[in-house]
Point group: D2
Chain length 306, copies 4
């Protein structure tokens, strides 16, 4: 029986719940939010859908004790800050979301939950780390969506440029899920061919790609006031990889021993959360960007700690 | 190849688009909205999801001419009025949405679209009728979601009361998708047993059910500011019934020769839209409620016509 | 985490496995068969599919101890007898399948499995009962697919005759999953209208329907040498109802206190297996057919017991 | 509306039909087979499933004229020869399947079908080519599943060895779908890292992998008497890529201008069938294997032509 907890029923949380219910992916769902009327409304709207679906999900709300036997806990709680004012807008949520974590952590602990935590709080890397520290949780069992979303955007931008499916584009966006993230172009392939090989013949401008990737999220935010579809799709894919022990290669926000921070890097996702980290050979330039990004995250982590 | 047009990218329209894309139900999707930034944002957010999905959907925007070879057109455009101020709040949208139809109808006509139209505009019945008249469209090829949603709510309320799946509850909510709708209890069965038979042994209070059904939508609206999940699920189910010529029995807003209005009634949905209407034996009381509901719709239709 | 055991990898078992894997419905699957080469081949063929799917299933084989923490056990083991020689051909499997149960029961017991058992052995009703007795298993936690399949055939035959979806046809085929089964026409509705009401206006011949329903399985058997698709689809639907605690109304082979046999009757399926039985009002004639069918099953049960 | 034709209702054809119907992927299906009783039986078994599914598929049989407006035609017809006697057993089907093509080609032509043809006849490459020639069909609009299946097997073998998902393994099996196929190891990556890089640190023996890949199909064949699940899954994925114009990178049997044969090579699949071929840099050794494999196919093509 697949049981998932979901803390935070904003646009991302609600979309995740809708996806789990309408695709028949979860057998039991526990939804928790500070706004009781909102979570009741989402529960009703989802339950109104069940008569039009072939699957069932038992939907419970506002009960931390129900997390005890949940397999997975997805956390989307927190304020969405002034993201529109730049990719670094995610930082605006920092102090508010610290309070959110301070409030929820003891309740998660008290529930006896000991499954896998997938964090989508912003800023993703430092909040994931802060929550891990507050819970004193095994590091492999908690990770953030991190650059899994940025990588999807990279795949889209590159795929569209070459006129092929985003699924044909492999490679990684790395670092902070924020302004300092970058695409490790040395890892990117299109239809199995290194993009650096295609660069000249196809007149590819990687800087323009980077710009388009970064701008993508901002345009979504500015047009909708939030982003939810792609990040929810990422979170659901990670949750399913945990349930089914898929050992799926995904760039997520995982703890780095080298940098002492949670940071977007390639990992293998399975029933134990982070099953392992994938060592990839980066160029010197990419290593430097990674280090710079880690420094930025660390600074935020320090702010949270104090 | 399954091609769907979608006019209106508010909460309902966006949820329908998300469902069609993430479930791999549509091969091509054309999204149109007055708010260009919004529709661009939805397109980007959906395209960012494609790299995390196993299916593909080609997503086009803002181009009426693309409707020419679409099979289905779902219309969710319009203002969501003061629904919170009562179930009849849907009427508040009347005059605004008349202008919306006046604007879109010529563009639909000019596109050469000749597929099936599913309308979710509010107030559903009279707006569907007004659009049909403006387009001078074959009546079987345009219908509204109508009481398909109310019926789902009835199934939920009854199912929960008996501790069984909403799918075990059959029967129909009929009439206006609005305050005058009613459940035809003579048609309702639980696990294949008429609810009237169970009424005494199970101490069932049908009036309380009616109240709960009516209140359901209001609570969703008040908690979220809109309703989208259940109605989107209904619309997608209807669209799939059309694509696959399912000949599925659904209560929808279809034209009634007897009442001269579009009104929620049992129909068979297939590739031609309304394949047929199902004649069900109502009680005298139910017939009277139906007539009263039809009168209310007719009055609104008359308002729209002038 | 959804874990399913599957004993018997013939045409039905293999199709169930394929469905669970390719639809992403099971996280872990344990497949067991007397024919080791066959089960290895199925495992390989399924694993070869994983690279083309978006979901994962861990597939284990030939290990009864793996059933310990499985939620559901589906049993399709046994010889498929001379079904082609008439609907009663299922009886030919009786003595052989008794040995199969005698062999597997101690191993199931030893595994510590305590989930829900769905039996598709033939003859379904008496074999399910025999297995329940051999395992001394709680009666609500083991049931057979029984007339769930026959009911699907009835829905198809009636639906086709009226030109509507099988899903629009409600009602029950009851009794033995064998020659003595019958459709309780008093329970059958088309688009929510009792079929007896439509009988005269639509010139419906219920006897011809019964014949077509009975003949359906035979024609499949004669053309393919076995039947698998529909029964696998039924079994998967039941398994999902258990996982998700759907409280779904399904006619299955459940124990009848009145008749002291497992027999096809309407039940509610949830996480506890048979959550409850649905009392439906049958006509005197239908009651008599039910009794006659129960007598036939009882005779077979007695044969098995001695 | 998605309409698919299917010629050949053996184990592969039936599994494809089952997948399309139970996953709700096709709106209309036309099934054709020389064995009329078999195709009737499959139709009945699939229709018996519809009452247990949330989707619908209209299933027609034995009518070539129905192919006229089909989007895709999947051909699995032909004799499955002594595959068990070695990977080259597929050749045994050559002369028989030539007659099959000679019989079906004029009927396909007469039907007016002008969609995309996906061939799974064996030996795959030469039969696809022979059919293309008999139909005088545009080469981009007909291709074979070819090494798409072998590549899936490679992904599985490599993934299992590294303890990760087959989906984490990229790269191509190339050449004939037969004994002369080979894995182009220079193209293979595990979690985005070239396998050659990992070879030493992980003590990887590529020859053993090749052996396991080749043996995989044989073991399935020997244990089941046929292979169907993985190849059906491949065919369905290709069909969906065509419907949705996915521009998906897949190694399939496509016509090579260089070798003048259909041969397994990386292609981009979309609504036009083969949208383009992907030029990948092979090692000299791999180029030689490709040439050798092409020669073998050409010899078979010549045999078919005369």
């Amino acid at each position: 029986m697949r049981k998932i907890g979901l803390i935070g029923m904003g646009n991302v949380g609600a979309t995740i719940a809708y996806t789990l219910v309408t695709k028949g992916l979860a057998d039991e769902l526990v939804m928790i939010d500070k706004n009781e009327k909102k979570v009741v409304a989402e529960q009703l709207d989802l339950q109104d859908s069940l008569g039009r679906l072939d699957s069932n999900t038992t939907i419970k709300i506002q009960d931390y004790s129900e997390l005890k036997d949940a397999d997975i806990l997805i956390i989307t709680a927190g304020k969405v800050a002034a993201m529109g004012s730049g990719a670094d807008g995610r930082m605006g949520e920092l102090s508010f979301n610290k309070m959110v974590v301070a409030d929820m952590a003891p309740q998660i602990k008290a529930s006896g939950f000991n499954g896998i935590i997938i964090s989508i709080m912003n800023p993703c890397d430092c909040m994931t780390q802060y929550l891990q520290e507050q819970l004193d949780y095994p590091r492999n069992k908690i990770f953030g969506t991190g650059t899994f979303l940025d990588t999807a955007r990279m795949q889209k931008v590159v795929g569209q440029s070459f006129g092929v499916s985003a699924n044909n584009v492999s490679g990684y966006a790395l670092g902070e899920h924020g302004a300092s993230q970058f695409t490790a172009w040395s890892t990117v392939q299109v239809n199995g061919v290194p993009i650096r090989t295609l660069q000249h013949s196809h007149n590819v401008d990687l800087d323009k790609f980077e710009e388009a990737i970064r701008l993508g999220g901002v345009m979504v935010f500015e047009g909708k006031g939030y982003t939810n579809f792609a990040v929810a799709t990422c979170a659901v894919k990670l949750a399913m990889a945990v349930f089914s022990d898929a050992k799926l290669a995904c760039p997520v926000s995982a703890y780095s021993d080298a940098y002492k921070v949670y940071i977007g890097q390639p990992a293998i996702i399975g029933k134990n959360g982070i099953e392992s980290l994938t060592q990839i050979a980066l160029t010197a330039d990419e290593e430097q960007k990674m280090k710079a990004s880690a420094d930025i995250i660390l600074e935020k982590v320090e702010t949270l700690r104090h």
